[in-house]
Symmetry: C2
């Protein structure tokens, strides 16, 4: 593609700009990240974050949303999408100078895997396995930054609700925290803390009966999205 805006006389560097996505979801109570096996050089056969080049007629957020749909095949509905940070080291792409704007994406309601299905080119990987895998380019650093962001943001925001379906129980929300932080939380203190923050959750009036035990109240995410005082990881 010819560059139609910046004249050859300009002093500006003209690199490629891509978006890369750190897409998290919860499957079977465990935090999972979306990775795809590359089928082209460089890094053919190596796992990489989903992503692609930004087009000339789209904003960064739009490029991230488009790549999310293209690469995961999931519906854009109810996904949380926020910019993470940018990566632009001179040598990060052996093909030449390339910038990447990374996005953090949280996708709720991903279908459970069908047992016996062979792993496709693009698939979900538990976070521990992803961190231990070799990733293409600087994607290991990007994944690390995305994980740090989501872990930190659960402390002081309602971000955890982005992992849940439209209606959810306090226990489901607690499982999100436990999966992301990798440690158990006291269900009773968690319940008091979450329901005690005005506006964070809205009762639907209905309840869900799931196996034995008292039915759990169903909530929707409220308009308040700051958790003050915060939940602490320690």
């Amino acid at each position: 593609m010819r560059n139609s805006q910046w004249s050859p006389g300009s002093t500006a560097l003209l690199p490629a700009v891509a978006v890369d996505l750190v897409v998290f979801t919860l499957i079977e109570g465990r935090l999972q990240v979306r990775l795809a096996t590359r089928d082209e050089e460089p890094f053919a056969g190596v796992l990489a974050l989903p992503g692609g080049f930004v087009r000339s007629d789209e904003n960064l957020d739009e490029a991230a949303a488009r790549e999310f749909v293209e690469e995961t095949g999931l519906a854009r509905l109810r996904t949380h999408l926020e910019q993470l940070r940018s990566y632009g080291d001179v040598a990060r792409d052996p093909r030449g100078r390339a910038f990447s704007v990374a996005y953090l994406v949280l996708a709720p309601g991903v279908p459970d895997p069908v047992p016996g299905t062979e792993p496709a080119r693009s698939r979900w990987l538990p976070i521990e396995a992803a961190l231990a895998s070799r990733l293409a380019f600087d994607h290991a650093a990007i994944l690390r930054d995305g994980l740090d962001r989501v872990r930190g943001k659960l402390e002081y925001s309602s971000l955890a609700t982005a992992f849940c379906p439209a209606e959810f129980t306090v226990a489901e929300l607690r499982v999100v925290y436990e999966a992301v932080w990798g440690r158990p939380l006291d269900p009773r203190n968690f319940h008091r803390k979450i329901t005690g923050t005005p506006g964070l959750l809205v009762e639907t009036g209905r309840a869900r009966r799931e196996g034995p035990g008292r039915p759990a109240t169903l909530y929707r995410a409220g308009l308040v999205n700051t958790l003050n005082p915060p939940l602490t990881r320690d």
Copy 2:
């Protein structure tokens, strides 16, 4: 400049990539930001953040550091520099597609202004004045984001020490918080909180006598840079 890495057959968009700097300092106990009057179109005569294009042989952090020195004339020593976020809306630059990676820069020890000096093309502006001014491109949004970042990060980090000289008193550090947050803090509770976080500050053994009153102990920034539990703004 010819683009030497991405062939014309590539599908990648080739835009210009710049760094823009939100440079804060404290002058006369007030938070100030560095702005320059543009002398070229577009936005000739309008205030803008310092910044410039990334060169082909430098990383993003290096470009930010270089632009800081070039545009402010200040020494790079003891400045804090961290990436803020990136901006890439299709229409953000009327000359064509352009991305900007914004950086937050904290510069300590800026000399007090000489009264009677006419304002130069590049100068410090109190934050309230800067927020009320018309800024070029999307620089008002970038400034806003930079201010939010520094305000938020004072709560849970040692970032405020980046506004101070190498050795400073607890009162100097408190003035930083008061200037950035725009509200007074109780000197006694602040002192107890800051000095009670192990590793955050290191006593130099010396003290500073400044006018009347008991001399203040001089500290250096310690190795710990997380404030736990945090200071709250409310």
